[in-house]
């Protein structure tokens, strides 16, 4: 294959990050072992992410494809990539705190994250079954490794293994589905598939393939009933890794889901919409009810993210421009809620040991008033209480659902959000209504302060920035709907 400039330019951010990853391999290998080198690698990686962010931010709004249509660079991709880059930046930035005495203070960590990031960005831009699968694998493999990064911890190894096994299973489903779709459509490009499905009679095998593909991606966004791995992986992985898992890959996989359903399978909305409705209701229910029983805050966040994916899927199930817009607004709030919450969860330490039981938050409002205030804002936002970011996300996804005639789905959704509010309130109760004699450590690194501060500001003032955000999301949704 001959590369020319027209191919390289749309994919420049990915190229830069991929090259950076290769450079980082050298830095990691020759820069010596230990925390100092790890910090150096992380800082370089952060610089690369900022560069990529700036490139995408200033990029042209025109929709371009590259590499024979396998790679799509449109405003939808830009929007989602900005979210992914921001989320990854936050998670990576917080991992270099001097507090993180975990074994993840290794040079490989940032390197693997950058590789996964390239994978995520390719997922968002995937416009062909081949590039889709390649991107998913590129994203997954480094993440399996970082989940098991804490080599002397049984839980971490368990998390890595579990993530790997179930991830491999989901990749298998994705691949099997893709092969059925290819078999029918005779092409791997999304536009070709979209043209092929615009016929009256579709063979059942094709629908089966579509369902397999959707299920495979549902694994990646941890929508119920494909959520089993999430709580264990969240709990077992080192906290900075969990922070990353909770934010960036979800956005990328959601973007892929949108690309696939709205793009390739756009003509058979009636078929996939049912699947998404089922996934949505199951996720909202599992997320809301499962979280109530949890004692570990990371497990709780896992269930919370399952519920959030359920709400986002409710917008997606609408199958409309409005639905796509709703999901984008939702995911925007989601990454900041996730980043803000994990900025605090990462600080939950007692005598240098991480203490992530929910009960460890007892009396936080007395010992760490600012952290408690921050976490309270995050929790209210996740519960969807206005005027915080989480509310607007729910407003737009349910708006799309109601507009598409899915009123029962919206009603189930809002009722589940009330059940969900219970466990978010429980966190606030433990922080504010209870006292403690064993305060958590008070060190507060700049990284966490910055991430928390930015997240709080975004969530509190979301309504001010909503207008330009809507404009951008509107543009992105239009690009998504008309990409072919």
């Amino acid at each position: 294959m001959i590369f020319d400039l027209a191919d390289i330019l749309p994919a420049l951010p990915e190229m830069i990050l991929a090259t950076l990853a290769l450079v980082l391999v050298l830095v990691a290998a020759y820069g010596g072992e230990g925390a100092k080198n790890a910090r150096r690698v992380t800082r370089i990686a952060l610089g690369g992410i900022v560069l990529a962010l700036m490139l995408i931010w200033s990029g042209t709004a025109a929709d371009e494809t590259a590499f024979g249509g396998m790679f799509m660079a449109d405003s939808f991709a830009s929007y989602m990539k900005i979210l992914v880059l921001l989320g990854t930046f936050g998670a990576l930035y917080m991992s270099i705190t001097p507090l993180a005495k975990d074994d993840i203070n290794k040079p490989e960590f940032a390197l693997l994250v950058v590789l996964a990031l390239v994978g995520m960005m390719l997922m968002i831009s995937a416009n062909d079954l081949m590039s889709l699968y390649m991107a998913v694998e590129l994203q997954s493999l480094p993440l399996y490794v970082v989940a098991a990064m804490r080599t002397n911890s049984l839980r971490s190894s368990e998390a890595g293994l579990k993530y790997f096994l179930l991830g491999a299973l989901s990749s298998g489903m994705l691949l099997y589905g893709a092969s059925l779709v290819y078999g029918f459509a005779g092409t791997t490009s999304f536009s070709g598939i979209a043209a092929a499905v615009s016929v009256d009679q579709l063979p059942v095998a094709f629908i089966v393939g579509m369902v397999f593909m959707v299920s495979g991606i549902a694994f990646k966004i941890s929508a119920a009933p494909f959520h089993m791995w999430t709580p264990d992986v969240y709990e077992g992985s080192p906290s900075p890794v969990t922070a990353l898992f909770a934010i960036a890959p979800k956005v990328a996989a959601m973007a892929l889901m949108m690309r696939l359903t709205y793009g390739a399978f756009g003509a058979i909305e009636a078929e996939w919409s049912q699947v998404l409705i089922a996934l949505s209701i199951a996720s909202m229910a599992v997320g809301a009810l499962g979280a109530i029983m949890q004692r570990d805050i990371k497990r709780m966040m896992a269930y919370s993210s399952i519920a959030h994916m359920g709400y986002a899927l409710a917008g997606l199930a609408a199958g409309s421009h409005q639905g796509a817009l709703g999901v984008m607004i939702y995911m925007t709030g989601y990454i900041f809620m996730g980043a803000g919450s994990f900025a605090i969860i990462l600080l939950m330490r007692r005598d240098g040991q991480s203490a992530t039981r929910i009960a460890d938050l007892q009396g936080l409002s007395r010992t760490h008033p600012m952290l408690a205030l921050g976490l309270m804002i995050m929790m209210f936002s996740m519960a969807g209480i206005p005027p915080l970011a989480g509310f607007f996300g729910k407003w737009y996804v349910f708006l799309a659902a109601v507009n598409a005639g899915l009123v029962p789905l919206a009603v189930v959704g809002v009722v589940m959000s009330v059940i969900g509010a219970f466990y978010y309130l429980r966190i606030i109760k433990i922080m504010y209504f209870e006292e403690t004699d064993e305060p958590l450590d008070t060190d507060m690194p700049t990284a966490n302060k910055m991430v928390l501060g930015v997240s709080i500001a975004v969530i509190l003032l979301f309504f001010i920035g909503l207008s330009p955000l809507l404009e951008a999301a509107n543009l992105a949704a239009t690009a998504l709907m008309t990409q072919l």
Binding site: V418, A421, L470
Partner: protein, 501 residues
């Protein structure tokens, strides 16, 4: 010049400026606490002063919205920043801005820990309350309406009594469940009308079956807020556990959000459904009036008794609104304002003795009148206003509601009147047991007399209750045109109005 000032926005967001200031002040715990009290007092007092031009500049002969402010928020989506007041919302705005400084004054000595956070919660609460009453955009209304839950949850949960956690959760989840159903209806309305502007929605005709569903959705939310039987059970818990000032605001303003919602949304926007469901509302309200009065009789806790009496009084309000007559709605409005003043004063009365004896058990008192004579006078006055003694604001509201109810159905009027008798019974009995009789509890003897601070809280409330009782037109005039406007809307929708206009 002052005409062009965005007074409503200033009144709404001024308390938030106080919050920023409170976040910045520093000092040791004691100085911080004292400074926080003063800052909150001054900010809320100043907010009240700023809200006075709304009263002075209000033109009660205009049916539309006044002091309107419009700004672009989400361009091209039919959602905008829109504020304004009419005769229905203006009294509530002033009630909110008046009760907030009074409640802050009421918590001067009662709140001793986390004073700064407490004051922040109250100022945020004020912004949310005022914002809700002045919003003329449905989404903005919902933002404020829901956001009220956050500070109130914290006020009950942090500074409340023994079972505060249970009460705070119950309050929050009950209200939230009602509100989210309303949210789904709001989405449907937005989709149908293409805008969330309240005046535009009022002019929009919703299809009849749709109205039915929308009405039920809004009812789910407002019925919890009012609260109506059988979804009132959060209220006694919340009141009993909340600190005195929390109860004052809860009873004084937050309960009115439901009644206000009925008048702003249900009646004007879903007239056919309102007509259809009026008998249901009457039934629920009558059960509330009689049942909760009987329950109040059986209480041994002062605050709980007054809380149940609030449910009964709010039953009058919902009856009045759904008679859809001029007298009924005016009576409901009057009753809401009156109840706002009276119940705040009654909860404060309980707070006064609670601060001294640290119990709310009626049996622990007796003979208080001998020790605190001035307090006894105020308490008696408010108790009589609550019962509906002529010459107090309570009488006017109840009388007008009864007249309206008579137009609707004589049975409704009959049962409503029964509630009045029961109300008089439990209140007078409460007063006798607390105030008169021999002093059995030695601690009562040692109770200190009323302070200047407490006096200055009672005084404005007493003055207003008396003013509205003697000269009800002061309030009725303000509301008349706006109420007529609502009724005109109802008759325009083809309803055979029961009013003897």
């Amino acid at each position: 010049m002052i005409d062009n000032w965005p007074i409503l926005s200033i009144v709404t967001f001024l308390p938030l400026a106080g919050v920023l200031f409170l976040l910045l002040i520093k000092g040791d715990e004691k100085a911080l606490a004292q400074n926080s009290r003063y800052v909150a007092m001054w900010v809320s007092g100043f907010t009240f002063l700023v809200s006075l031009p709304l009263l002075i500049g209000f033109d009660s002969s205009v049916a539309g919205y006044q002091f309107e402010e419009k700004a672009v928020w989400l361009a091209g989506t039919g959602i905008g920043y829109h504020m304004g007041i009419d005769g229905i919302s203006m009294p509530f705005v002033l009630l909110s801005t008046l009760l907030t400084p009074l409640s802050i004054l009421a918590s001067w000595r009662a709140i001793t820990h986390r004073v700064r956070e407490y004051m922040i919660a109250f100022l945020v609460l004020e912004t949310m309350m005022v914002g809700m009453f002045v919003s003329l955009d449905m989404l903005m209304f919902y933002l404020f309406f829901e956001a009220v839950l956050i500070p109130m949850f914290l006020i009950i949960g942090i500074w409340g009594g023994a079972r505060r956690v249970y009460a705070a959760f119950k309050f929050f989840l009950y209200t939230l469940l009602g509100s989210v159903l309303m949210l789904v209806c709001m989405l449907a309305m937005y989709i149908d009308a293409g805008t969330t502007d309240i005046p535009a929605l009022t002019a929009h005709q919703f299809a009849e079956t749709m109205q039915t569903w929308l009405f039920l959705g809004f009812l789910a939310s407002f019925a919890v807020k009012v609260p109506m039987w059988p979804v009132h059970t959060w209220l006694p818990d919340a009141h009993v556990e909340a600190p005195t000032a929390g109860s004052m605001i809860l009873a004084g303003v937050l309960l009115k959000m439901g009644g206000y919602g009925f008048l702003r949304f249900s009646l004007p926007m879903f007239p056919l459904a309102s007509e259809y469901f009026a008998p249901l509302i009457f039934t629920l309200s009558i059960i509330a009036v009689i049942y909760t009065s009987l329950v109040a009789l059986a209480q041994s806790d002062m605050k709980k008794m007054i809380a149940y009496s609030s449910v009964a009084h709010m039953g009058f309000v919902t009856i009045g609104i759904f008679t859809m007559t001029e007298q009924g709605i005016a009576g409901a409005m009057f009753q809401m304002i009156s109840h706002g003043l009276v119940s705040a004063a009654l909860f404060f009365s309980v707070g006064v003795v609670y601060d001294r004896l640290h119990t709310r058990e009626i049996s622990a008192y007796g003979g208080v009148a001998a020790v605190m004579p001035r307090y006894a006078v105020f308490f008696m006055f408010m108790m009589l206003a609550s019962v509906g003694l002529p010459g107090t604001s309570g009488f006017v509201g109840e009388m007008l509601v009864l007249v309206g109810a008579w137009h609707a159905s004589s049975w409704v009027a009959f049962f409503t009147a029964t509630g009045l008798v029961l109300g008089a019974t439990y209140m007078l009995w409460l007063y006798r047991r607390v105030m008169f009789g021999a002093i059995v509890n030695d601690e009562v003897k040692a109770m200190e007399p009323m302070q200047m601070r407490e006096f200055s809280i009672f005084l404005p409330l007493t003055f207003l209750v008396l003013l509205f009782g003697v000269y009800p037109m002061a309030l009725l005039d303000v509301m008349a045109v706006s109420i007529q406007f609502v009724l005109d809307g109802l008759s325009a929708s083809g309803l055979p109005l029961m009013a003897a206009n």
